[in-house]
Structures are given as C-alpha cells and as structure tokens.
Point group: C2
Chain length 101, copies 2
Amino acid sequence: MRTADRQALLQQLKLDYSHILINYFTPDAPSPEKIDKFINALFCANIPVPQIIEMHMELIDEFSVQLKLEGLSDDTLLDYRLTLIDILAHLCELYRRSVPK
Amino acid sequence: MRTADRQALLQQLKLDYSHILINYFTPDAPSPEKIDKFINALFCANIPVPQIIEMHMELIDEFSVQLKLEGLSDDTLLDYRLTLIDILAHLCELYRRSVPK
C-alpha cells in the first residue's frame, strides 16, 4: 500500500474509533457488529498494536482539551480504558486464532 | 495437555499475574523482562483471551474483598486496568507478528 493510502486508512480508522469511544457509554452505544467491523479493519490492515495505543492516546488528549475548553472535568475519560480493553481483547483473540497450530 | 496439568498451569499464571498486579505501581514494579516472561507464558500456553480477562476480574474481585475487610476504599483498583492494557497490548502484538503474511 502506498504511504498516502496508508495515511488515509489510518485517519479513517481513527475517525471510526473516535465514534466508538464517544458513543461507548451512551444509549446510542455502538453495536457489537460495529465494533467487530472496526476490529476486522484493524486486523486486515495489520496495524501494529503500538499504533492503536497511540491512536487512543491522541483521541483522549483531544477530548481532554475539548472538555477543559468547556470548563468540564476530564475525569470520566479514564472510563474509556474499558473501551480500549474491549478492542484489544477482541483483536488479540482474532490474531490468536489466526496463528497456525 | 491433561486437564489437571492445564488447571495447574492456569493457577500458576494467575499467581504470576497477581504478583505483577500487586507490584505494578510500587517502587518494586515488575521489570519489563518479568512482564515479557509472563506474556510469553500466556502465548506459549495459547490461553484464550476471555480467560485472561476472567483471571484479571477474579483477582480484582479478590483484592476488593480484601480492601473492604481492611476498611479501605477499592477506588485505586481501577488503575489496574492500565496493567491489563499493558499485558493485552504486548500479547496482541506477539500474536500479530506470529500470523503468516
């Protein structure tokens, strides 16, 4: 894949992940199918896990800046660690099952 | 592996993980080598990820009971989510690199 295409893919994945994060604890929470689709996209694109962690940290930093601008506490952002655990656990299981015995 | 051997292995892994958790935020924090050794043990034993999550939840529940018996708050146990993220991220990357291209 060309570098520009790879960058565009990463941007799309970051956007998808931001939607999952924002809605994760709301009544409009992403369906298991939507989360699975995102995990499959990470798997198919073979994204290194450190890049996924970086994507998460960047988004949390962006949310934190936004909340502070609005004069709100960013304490609740810690809850999004659960979302990251959810994603990593499912992705890890997907890779585990793909390793030849 | 026989069921009894598998059970013994899981008990050993749970014990190893409890030591990692307990010391994770202390001056006696486990070395990267010790964490790598634990992750390699999970990898070699091909432990399904839901079982790792279950192991984590059981330990957190046990710590919570202990803290409450001592009249202490269990709020700090939420921080151990970072330990789980650390383990899952490294294990996931290990499996990712083991999938044939």
